[in-house]
């Protein structure tokens, strides 16, 4: 175990954590963690889910459940041990000295009270009693976090604001009492990439302006490396590696940190591509360039001018406005856009979950419009979907074996023995042990569940698999495993993928062609390299700019590729 603390100047450190161990009952979850955070500095705790990073944050804020968790060690804030303080002396610190930005903004605000009413609670921490003065201060801080119309936000209820705006409100409420330390627990993981960039930029600015220290908790090494001065890499509750983020990032010393670094999509745009080109060559027996469309290629999916509107608030909102894209057989096409861009609607139209108002959808040369239910059902069999969130897409009362067998049973494929065989085949193909079949989804991890969902989609041997943000609910390291699996399966089975995502870095790794959607319209499309190197539309450029480490990736990638020289 490597324990590295920066003992350079203890008195300048705002927060010092020494030998912190936390146990739930007799189950230890955090072991002997030490780190320190300088005044005005920023530090990121990185790790997968279950690595104990949120538990450490809760210990610092003293939010661990009473009687269930025991924390030993020292957590010093401005030199006084937070863990040893009686509750009465700690309460004045929480909120005033220590701010907290939670992960999910939607569940952190009270839905039945206005933002203003909740902001007054934070304003009361300042000791200000005059409501008019408080109100002025609240409006000022709402303006400071870049909310367009503070007075309207003040009178709004949480459900009237978007996720990005709610997160801004929470940040405003956190910085309002001018704390000296902010603990941010995955502040942007529920948000779109462009919003994520805005929020992170804002946090960095506020930190500089108000001289606030930041303890950032994230599973994304790219965000951590871009936003924090120093990093602490956690695994199974123990420190793997720590140091200045530039050093850790450029030349990770431990195996785990190296694998985390390798899993950042923005740094390795060609990670799967090389493998895919190799496989393509092997399959065809000849060389074929990856980006140039071959003239003989057949269109597996052809969507032409599809329109769909939904009634919302008394008027119709166009979710898809003449969306056109096509996918060649055996290729991967990506639909990219933020939430509300119409990409999910386009997919639902393709799968027949919604009926289009206009336009034409052709699958393998057969038009889906104007067909009987039975015909559409047969077409659906060749189109399978892998949902975004494996925690909701699998029936919790079913065992895995039955979940994977469901499509076979429903489409009446083969005899009973054949079905059982195909289920075990599918589970094997996605890299799951056969004993998983008798377990229920609750006993599987997120990555394993997504593998089950993929097995379910593949078991009927479809031609097209639609992947609706298949990794957005998963950790970065798990994401890499799933993408690896998908690329392998594509070339073993000759699958056509339609990949829906808001993450351009990810799209660059897996897709051949891209359509960028905005407000229901395709603003730009073409081969993936073309979009990345010569984006024409400003929106595409904004999306590209929002990729964490996008700026450094071009300059520093060359340096990163020779870590041996850097450490030598």
């Amino acid at each position: 175990m490597i324990l590295k603390t920066k003992d350079t100047n203890v008195s300048a450190d705002l927060l010092t954590v020494r030998g912190l161990s936390i146990a739930y009952g007799s189950t230890a979850v955090v072991h002997d963690v030490s780190f320190s955070l300088a005044k005005g500095g920023s530090l990121a705790l990185i790790g997968e889910s279950g690595s104990g990073k949120s538990t450490i944050a809760k210990a610092i804020l003293r939010l661990l459940p009473h009687g269930e968790a025991t924390a030993t060690g020292r957590v010093e804030l401005n030199g006084s041990d937070v863990l040893a303080l009686p509750e009465k002396q700690f309460r004045p610190l929480r909120g005033r000295e220590l701010g907290f930005i939670p992960q999910d903004p939607a569940s952190a605000l009270n839905p039945v009270r206005t933002i203003g009413a909740q902001a007054h609670e934070a304003a009361a921490l300042l000791g200000e009693t005059d409501p008019a003065v408080r109100r002025a201060k609240i409006l000022e801080v709402l303006d400071q976090v870049g909310l367009p119309d503070p007075a309207r936000v003040y009178d709004s209820y949480p459900h009237q604001l978007s996720g990005g705006m709610l997160q801004r409100v929470l940040i405003a409420l956190t910085v309002l009492p001018q704390p000296s330390l902010i603990v941010a627990d995955e502040p942007t993981s529920a948000l779109d990439v462009t919003v994520q960039k805005l929020i992170l930029d804002m946090l960095s600015d506020l930190r500089r302006e108000l001289d606030i220290s930041l303890l950032l908790i994230t599973h994304d090494l790219a965000i951590a490396a871009e936003r924090a001065d120093s990093l602490v890499v956690l695994k199974d509750g123990a420190v793997q590696e720590s140091g200045a983020s530039r050093d850790v990032f450029a030349s990770p010393r431990t195996e785990y940190a190296r694998s985390l670094q390798a899993d950042v999509p923005a740094l390795h745009p060609d990670r799967y591509r090389r493998k895919r080109t190799l496989l393509t060559q092997a399959n065809d027996g000849g060389f074929r360039t990856d980006t140039a469309p071959s003239p003989t290629a057949q269109l597996q999916i052809d969507v032409r001018g599809v329109t769909k509107s939904f009634p919302a608030g008394g008027k119709d909102v166009l979710a898809c406005d003449g969306v056109t894209f096509s996918v060649e057989r055996g290729r991967t096409h990506a639909l990219v856009g933020e939430s509300g861009s119409g990409k999910t609607t386009a997919v639902r139209l393709l799968l027949g979950l919604e009926q289009p108002d206009g336009g034409d959808i052709t699958v393998a040369g057969q038009s889906t419009s104007g067909r009987s239910r039975a015909d559409v059902r047969e077409i659906r069999r060749h189109l399978q979907l892998v949902y975004q969130n494996p925690f909701t897409s699998l029936d919790p009362t079913w065992r895995v074996g039955r979940i994977v067998r469901e499509p076979l049973d429903q489409f009446g494929v083969g005899t009973k023995a054949e079905r059982t065989h195909r289920v075990s085949e599918a589970l094997e193909a996605v890299g799951l042990p056969s004993d998983v079949a008798s377990r229920r989804p609750a006993h599987l991890s997120g990555g394993q569940r997504q593998r089950v969902a993929i097995a379910r989609a593949l078991v009927v041997r479809p031609d097209v698999v639609v992947l609706d943000e298949p990794t957005s609910a998963l950790d970065v390291s798990v994401q890499a495993g799933i993408l690896e699996l998908l690329t392998t399966l594509q070339h073993e089975l000759g699958l056509t993928y339609l990949f829906v995502s808001h993450d351009l870095a990810l799209v660059r790794q897996v897709a051949d062609t891209v359509s960028v959607l905005r407000r229901g319209q395709v603003v730009e499309d073409g081969p993936v390299e073309e979009i990345f190197h010569r984006p024409r539309h400003p929106y595409t450029r904004a999306l590209l700019g929002a990729i964490p480490l996008a700026a450094v990736s071009t300059e520093e990638q060359t340096a990163l590729k020779q870590p041996a020289k850097a450490t030598a």
Binding site: G25, A28, D32, R377, Y387, T392, S393, D395, E406, Q410
Partner: protein, 284 residues
């Protein structure tokens, strides 16, 4: 380094000690199960628990206080009160079961249909349930028994009908919650039809809370049926329904045990059932 070595061992210790207590419910729940088991045995094989007859008594020892011979004392005809309680269990428990079954089956069907189908069916069934809910349950039961005839089984049917609304409401809410789940939509994509989604996915995920309510309703039904029997809406004497025992005992102020004994049995049973229901809801 010691921390890393100690970690797996610590974890094993943790799970081992958990395993010892994890399988067992709290002590009050075990006691409740024991009470319910006793009540069930009373209703199935009452002759194993008492040697006295519930209908013939020894008038010489009438209105005797509780003793080792007569645990609950004797009534005005010298019949052993404990025997009467034990022999009365069958009809009390069966009628409560009938009531719960009627409420569960009819209520669930209504809730399932209105929650899954929605639209006009939901509106029609919803208004029907509203009407049922608008009439106080006990009053509704009294009206139904009056029109069907004074019998314990009719009291059970009446109690069941008055419980239909509660089951329908809960089932509808649960079905609507599950209906929009992603795995139900996934089932359509995998070629499943609506019936398959309903029976395969929605019902298994929705019935749990309804079952917990059924257990709770069992306790309530015992109370309502006892109340109806107390008011004379059940079988006439010499039947010995718990409610009837309380009613006939209340005229003898000098022998309060004639009221207390059956009343305590009712209270004990209902409390046990409620405790089990609450535990089920938590364990769910």
């Amino acid at each position: 380094m010691t921390a890393t070595l100690g970690y797996p061992q610590l974890r094993n210790v943790g799970t081992a000690s958990k395993r010892l207590t994890a399988g067992l419910p709290p002590i009050t729940v075990i006691l409740s199960f024991a009470v319910v088991l006793l009540v069930i045995l009373w209703s199935l094989v009452p002759w194993l628990f008492t040697s006295y007859s519930p209908v013939t008594g020894d008038t010489a020892s009438k209105l005797a206080a509780p003793s080792a011979q007569h645990w609950f004392g004797t009534d005005y005809l010298g019949r052993d009160q404990f025997a009467r309680v034990v022999y009365g269990t069958a009809s009390s428990v069966t009628s409560a079961l009938v009531a719960v079954l009627i409420g569960l089956v009819i209520g669930s069907l209504i809730g399932l249909a209105s929650g899954f189908r929605g639209g006009w069916l939901d509106s029609v069934l919803g208004r029907f349930v509203d009407v049922l809910l608008a009439i106080p349950g006990f009053l509704l039961a009294v009206v139904i028994v009056s029109s069907l005839g004074f019998q314990t089984i009719n009291a059970a049917i009446a109690t069941g009908v008055s419980a239909v609304a509660v089951f329908a409401r809960l089932m509808r809410a649960e079905v609507m919650r599950v209906r929009s789940a992603t795995y139900v939509e996934a089932s359509y994509l995998e070629g499943g039809n609506r019936l398959h989604a309903l029976l395969g996915h929605i019902l298994p995920n929705a019935y749990r809370s309804v079952l917990v309510l059924a257990v709770l309703q069992f306790g309530t039904s015992i109370l309502i049926i006892a109340s109806l029997a107390f008011l004379g809406y059940g079988d006439p004497p010499p039947a010995s329904d718990w409610g009837l025992l309380v009613a006939s005992g209340k005229t003898y102020v000098t022998a309060p045990w004639l009221v207390y004994a059956p009343a305590l049995v009712i209270v004990g049973t209902v409390l046990s059932v409620n405790r089990i229901s609450r535990w089920l809801r938590k364990a769910k």
